[in-house]
């Protein structure tokens, strides 16, 4: 790992400088993560008095449990839906804003601020708008003959959480796509244009291929966002329902651990989630490293 060529001599000072962060990391990070690993191998009785070592039984049970498998597929649908919606809308906005010269910064400002809104607040907002009895969108949908009700329909509930999660994420994706678009050399596009390529053809043959690194990076970030940062959206809107239709993996860890008090199973789920994030982060880092090298 790199350092400066010249450094300060110091026997105790670097340790003192590192101490606050290391102590907090050990107490609130390493210790709980270790506890999760350890608890995932235990089974507690109903009163939490005795725990027995059961090895990998918690994991085996999980993968035999229909509700966990359901939660896996719910998470996959939710993550893919949110990623697709927020990225495609953001790409449309970014490539349109990129054409603008004078109004570019105004549009950027107007599109960027939802990033600042808490996921839970975004959830409450969309929940209100889609409220089956007083919301405005069910009222409009009713006019075209669709009975919206996310309290009873699994599909409606899933759409609701995807909308809320994507709405919040559009601004983030937009900023990165805009930065990516601005780094594409203008001369390439001009050359293609002289050769007679129309706007759509230019987009698909030049711009989009050059955006693949950004797109790939955003895909990973969005999947991580949809899996982990959307607890607030789900808790504030559907609470995992109706009949588990929006019970994502992170929500289930909370529900099984805090509401259901099934600590062993919840810890095992945490461990699986940790493995998923570590996998995604490794992909992300490898990709970033490769980018830095060329």
């Amino acid at each position: 790992m790199q350092t400066k060529r010249m450094t300060f001599p110091g026997h105790w000072m670097p340790y003192a400088l590192l101490a606050p962060q290391v102590i907090i990391t050990l107490i609130f990070f390493i210790w709980p993560a270790g506890q999760a690993l350890y608890q995932s191998l235990l089974r507690e009785d109903a009163f939490g008095l005795r725990s027995t070592f059961v090895g990998l039984e918690n994991f085996v049970r999980l993968f035999r449990d229909g509700s966990y498998l359901n939660s896996l597929s719910v998470t996959a649908i939710f993550a893919i839906g949110t990623t697709l919606v927020s990225m495609s809308v953001a790409l449309l906005f970014a490539s349109t804003v990129n054409r603008m010269i004078r109004s570019r910064s105004t549009y950027t400002t107007l599109l960027v601020w939802p990033y600042a809104i808490a996921p839970a607040i975004a959830g409450v907002l969309w929940w209100f708008i889609f409220n089956p009895s007083i919301g405005i969108i069910p009222y409009m949908l009713d006019a075209v003959g669709y009975q919206w009700n996310h309290r009873t329909s699994s599909n409606d509930a899933m759409l609701l959480v995807i909308f809320a999660a994507s709405w919040k994420q559009i601004s983030y994706n937009f900023l990165f796509f805009l930065a990516g678009l601005q780094s594409i050399p203008q001369s390439l596009i001009e050359a293609a244009s002289i050769d007679g390529a129309g706007p759509l053809k230019r987009f698909w043959t030049i711009v989009f291929p050059l955006l693949t690194p950004t797109t790939f990076f955003l895909m990973v970030v969005n999947v991580v966002y949809a899996m982990f940062d959307t607890f607030g959206i789900i808790h504030a809107t559907t609470a995992g329902g109706p009949s588990q239709a929006t019970n994502t993996l992170v929500y289930k860890v909370y529900a099984d651990g805090f509401v259901g008090l099934n600590l062993g199973s919840s810890a095992a789920q945490s461990v699986i989630l940790m493995a998923i994030v570590v996998g995604l982060t490794v992909i992300q880092f490898r990709y970033i490293e490769r980018r830095v090298n060329y």
């Binding site: 060529r5 990391t25 050990l26 960027v112 409450v124 209100f128 009222y139 607890f231």
Partner: protein, 280 residues
């Protein structure tokens, strides 16, 4: 832009205006709803223009809140959110800049070990190890306190990562000159490194403040006492009632969203810098 076609420009503006409308729509609805009188929202058709009860709703929320659901007044919840966000922001920035300084400017035993110990935290959000972390905080009797709300969330390496990247780009000559002049590490840090990092600190400040303000799951678990309710979790509690008072809830939603949105609008350039630099 390559060629100038009026209809293409017109189309582009149309797309963007629709986009802005889509992005603004939920907040517009919230503002409209927050200005209605009690019961007006329950008639079945959502009004599309602001009503006349705005001032009344906002004052009620600000002063007393929905005391029926045991919630604190909005001013107090906003204050709690502010204290929590500031504690997280300042805490993260100060521990990160110190550890990045140690890692970049010193050579010592176990340096790589400490580096990885800190960097492993980049990966695991608090949500996935929520129950054991809760237990640690409970064992340290930090439930229902600002320390319990903020300190566990300070343990993350994003800011350390950014400061390290930045310190690596600071020219070697700075350090050489400082050492020739006989400056010790702390003097170098205070007089040279800190002033150079001001933009990075400001950019990170924006991002960390929003992160802290928007926390939800953690305050929900750590605090049961209304004195520590943050505005984001307070709103969720109000909506969970039997008959939600939508006009008042939406006033609270607008008040909860305003501070972070203002921070972004005023500090947009720094925010973009911080965001792109942390993530890439």
């Amino acid at each position: 832009m390559v060629e100038n076609r009026p209809w293409a420009n017109f189309l582009a503006h149309t797309v963007l205006i629709c986009g802005v409308a889509l992005v603004v729509f939920p907040v517009y609805i919230a503002i409209v709803a927050s200005t209605q009188g009690p019961g007006e929202l329950l008639r079945g058709t959502m009004p599309l223009l602001p009503g006349s009860h705005g001032l009344e709703n906002y004052t009620t929320m600000w002063r007393t809140g929905l005391s029926r659901s045991g919630a604190a007044p909005a001013w107090q919840m906003l204050w709690n959110s502010f204290v929590m966000a500031m504690a997280i922001t300042i805490g993260k920035l100060s521990i990160s800049i110190l550890s990045a300084f140690a890692i970049v400017y010193f050579r010592f035993r176990f340096r790589i070990f400490f580096f990885w110990l800190i960097f492993i935290t980049l990966m695991l959000p608090v949500e996935v190890r929520i129950i054991p972390t809760y237990q640690v905080v409970a064992d340290l009797s930090m439930l229902n306190s600002f320390a319990g709300l903020s300190i566990p969330l300070i343990a993350s390496a994003t800011a350390t990562f950014l400061f390290r990247q930045f310190f690596m780009t600071v020219p070697e000559e700075m350090l050489e000159a400082a050492r020739v002049d006989g400056a010790g590490p702390l003097k170098f840090f205070k007089d040279i490194l800190l002033p150079l990092s001001i933009t990075n600190i400001a950019a990170l400040f924006v991002i960390m403040f929003i992160y802290g303000w928007n926390q939800y799951l953690w305050p929900l678990l750590i605090t049961t006492d209304a004195d520590y309710t943050t505005i984001v979790m307070g709103i969720q509690r109000m909506t969970a009632e039997e008959n939600p008072q939508w006009h008042l809830i939406m006033a609270a939603v607008v008040m909860a969203a305003l501070p972070p949105v203002l921070v972004i609008l005023f500090m947009q350039r720094l925010f973009v810098k911080g965001l792109t630099e942390t993530e890439k």
